[in-house]
């Protein structure tokens, strides 16, 4: 009887683990099957898809045929999310240090719950605020149309803040208290302790947080779409409008019939997103592995 | 030697590539208190944990040799681990009562082994708590959380919890090292009382404690058993130079 319940438990939980694995594989397989049909069924060369800015999926054959180059979308996604991380990462690390080292009372009582709330604000609401506040502000004070790379990455940088902060706080928390005490006992100032002892030791956790934040920014759809203007051109400045992979998918998916080249190329963009977020995971793994080896 | 409760022969224990125990041979007599002493890292706790197969939980542990409990090998594949641990109970270094009431802590063992009768449970709880010399202190707060008790009381709850499953052998891993002197005295008294009914093996850092309560003392060093003898002999006429050095405080 005892042995049976133990076996059941083991079978059930292993089953749940297998379900999770199967689900992930199913997602990858389904998206890949749909996404690859652009290349396999429609015969679009991968090179043209990735490295061309010609996006004319509706153009008839006699005028140069449908063309589905997604370079502008891809660059747009990369630019916006990288800039978001550039803004968000230093701010997040400062917050994490504040929470753990500078003012633990205020940090843990006020700042950390506040940041958790940021994580819970729906992306639609972020987009809505960006559209109502940020876009007019940029247009009036900085010039341009307001719909811009700037608006996009500012909104994103707030959205990914909680991801980076919580990872950084966790990795700072995991450090042995003794290290800090030892550093203080040797006469280091607080900043020296943080800079020389704590931050380097927590580095891999922080980098993991930053990469996950980057992944989140890269995959965000609705909030970004509302503020970037969606212009299919590679932006020349941060005040220019831009377009991303995610916004192209949300805008066109419903209007294109399943199975057409147009729809297929949107699925290919989905596959591209999937592929890049897997790439981010590999980067994280690499960082963690390297830091484990160096320790 | 046929009157041994536990008989260990050529026990080797490897932790991945590291050999933690090297050829231990020891006989444990029933209704006796056996103390295991030795410096940190000498393998005494590891040895203790291999007696009820707690080491199986640790990744990368490999065991060679035999451990016989009343003549049958506890590492044979036919052994029901659950039944083994029911017979060979363990008290840990730090008190670790569950996040439950005192009553539920003590009733935990009987319950998981299928006892549902409320009257019977009440009885077991009372007997066990009396056995652990705690009944009078907690009878009024049986249904409050065990974490509200003092450290010494918590440790006695853990002992009562163990007694409730009626084991033969009690393994104690430095049971009083996390307690203050007064609680320590109480635990020691309790252990001496328990000797009448149980076979007790206790790991301790405290040599006075070993001298005070045990009948037999075994001295471990670097994963080997240096010597094992009557406690009095070990502390007065050790047979090995290393034992003498250790008990006189020259190292460790």
């Amino acid at each position: 009887m005892k042995i049976t319940s133990d076996t059941t438990g083991r079978v059930l939980s292993t089953g749940a683990a297998l379900v999770t694995i199967l689900l992930t594989l199913a997602i990858i397989v389904f998206i890949a099957t749909k996404g690859l049909s652009t290349f396999i069924i429609n015969g679009v060369p991968v090179k043209d898809f990735l490295f061309s800015t010609n996006w004319f999926p509706d153009r008839p054959l006699e005028e140069g045929g449908p063309q589905v180059g997604v370079l502008a979308f891809m660059l747009g996604s990369i630019i916006v999310s990288l800039l978001a991380v550039l803004v968000s990462a230093p701010l997040s690390v400062a917050c994490a240090v504040f929470i753990r080292e500078i003012a633990p009372f205020w940090g843990q009582r006020v700042l950390q719950p506040a940041i958790e709330i940021l994580a819970g604000i729906p992306s639609v609401v972020y987009g809505y605020i960006g559209l109502s506040l940020l876009v007019p502000f940029i247009r009036e004070h900085l010039g341009g149309l307001g719909f811009s790379v700037l608006a996009g990455f500012l909104v994103l940088s707030v959205m990914i803040l909680p991801t980076i902060v919580s990872m950084s706080v966790d990795s700072l928390r995991a450090l042995p208290q003794e290290w800090k005490e030892a550093a203080y006992a040797l006469g280091s100032t607080r900043w020296q302790t943080i800079r020389i002892v704590l931050l380097p030791a927590a580095r891999s956790g922080i980098i993991t947080g930053v990469v996950l934040g980057l992944a989140r920014a890269f995959g965000e759809a609705l909030a970004v779409q509302m503020v970037i203007g969606n212009t299919r051109k590679i932006p020349g400045s941060i005040l220019d409008p831009v377009i991303t992979l995610t916004s192209a998918i949300t805008m066109d998916m419903g209007n294109t019939p399943m199975g057409s080249l147009w729809s297929n190329s949107l699925w290919s963009m989905g596959l591209l997103l999937l592929f890049i977020s897997c790439l981010f995971i590999l980067v994280v793994r690499f960082v963690v592995q390297r830091s484990e080896m160096s320790q | 030697m046929s009157d041994s409760k536990i008989s260990v022969k050529k026990l080797h224990l490897f932790y991945k590539d590291f050999q933690a125990l090297n050829g231990i041979d020891i006989e444990v007599r029933p209704q006796h208190i056996t103390a295991l002493i030795g410096p940190s890292g000498c393998g005494k706790s590891t040895f203790l944990r291999s007696l009820n197969r707690m080491n199986d939980l640790i990744e990368g542990v490999r065991i060679e040799g035999t451990i016989l409990l009343e003549g049958s090998d506890i590492y044979s594949s036919a052994v029901d681990m659950v039944a083994l641990r029911k017979r060979v109970g363990m008290v840990f270094q730090r008190p670790n009562p569950f996040l439950m009431s005192v009553y539920d802590n003590v009733a935990y063992g009987p319950r998981i082994h299928g006892e549902k009768n409320k009257r019977k449970l009440d009885e077991i709880v009372e007997t066990s708590l009396r056995g652990a010399a705690l009944w009078d202190e907690v009878r009024d707060r049986l249904h409050k959380s065990a974490l509200g008790l003092s450290g010494g009381q918590q440790q006695r709850v853990c002992i009562a919890r163990l007694l409730a499953v009626q084991p033969d052998v009690l393994l104690m891993d430095e049971p009083s090292s996390a307690l203050d002197p007064k609680s320590t005295m109480k635990i020691e008294e309790l252990i001496r009382d328990l000797k009448q009914r149980y076979t007790i093996i206790i790991v301790t850092h405290n040599m006075q404690q070993a001298a005070r309560i045990s009948d037999t003392t075994a001295f471990f060093l670097n994963g080997t058993l240096v010597e094992c003898n009557e406690t009095e002999l070990i502390f007065t006429k050790p047979g090995d130079q290393r034992t003498e050095d250790y008990i006189t405080g020259r190292f460790g």
Partner: protein
Amino acid sequence: MKARSADKLATAIIWAGALIVIAVLASIIGYILFNGGKSISWDFLTKPAQVIHSGGGIGPQIFNSFYLLALSMLITIPVGLLGGIYLAEYARPSKLTGGLRLCIETLNSLPSIVIGLFGLLVFVNMTGWGYTLMSGALALTVINLPLIVRYTEEALQSVPASLREASLALGASHWQTIVKVVLPGAFPGLVSGFIITSGRVFGEAAALLFTAGMSSPALDFSQWNIFNSSSPLNPFRPAETLAVHIWKVNTEGLIPDLRRVADGSAAVLILIVLGFNLLARWLGHRIYRHMTAT
């Protein structure tokens, strides 16, 4: 002296960083609550939405959001809990464990729009259900699952190993130990983890656009037969959640008072998410205190 002033400067910069974040948060929440707060009324919270006329409410949308959340949690919690138990208790370094961890990380970083596409393909088209609550709930499950597994694993690992050993040393089986000792010990962590996850998916919209749909058919709140197609409980009807409603009103709204509806909905959404967070903290704290009786 130089180290001293560097210390002061760094402290000041870090304070400034923290203050910026608090200011941003305060202005976001303040803006939404200030603008939306005035449109929140009992009528607004209970009446159905309007398509052309002004004066619509968000009653069905609020109901849909909660119902969808409950449906998805019903699926996610058992699977996620067991998956977390596997990782925390049974997993030995093996191919399966490594694969599982990689899968969870992958799921966790998948853009929600990709999950929406997957849902469209499998839950909407292949099953033939169309845009339904069930399709949406399954898509949310995909988003939820890695979070729940991670929270469960963390909560279980925070239970001291000594309690596990104590239980095993009493002759309890591994599963008995998990059910009777480890899970209760992890309960406060589990509860707050689940509630925080709920808050996150409550605001999810991108994945739902393609799965639960953007339409909210008339609901008959006196019909509680789950199989009746006009019943609010029927999981095979399309449903628009609050977050999707905000998106729709902003993009396609024909109603003259769309600002009011959008602002009000955003405020309600934020208040609910805020409520989830506070509930998680309070409940976790309370359960912990109750269990330790300190």
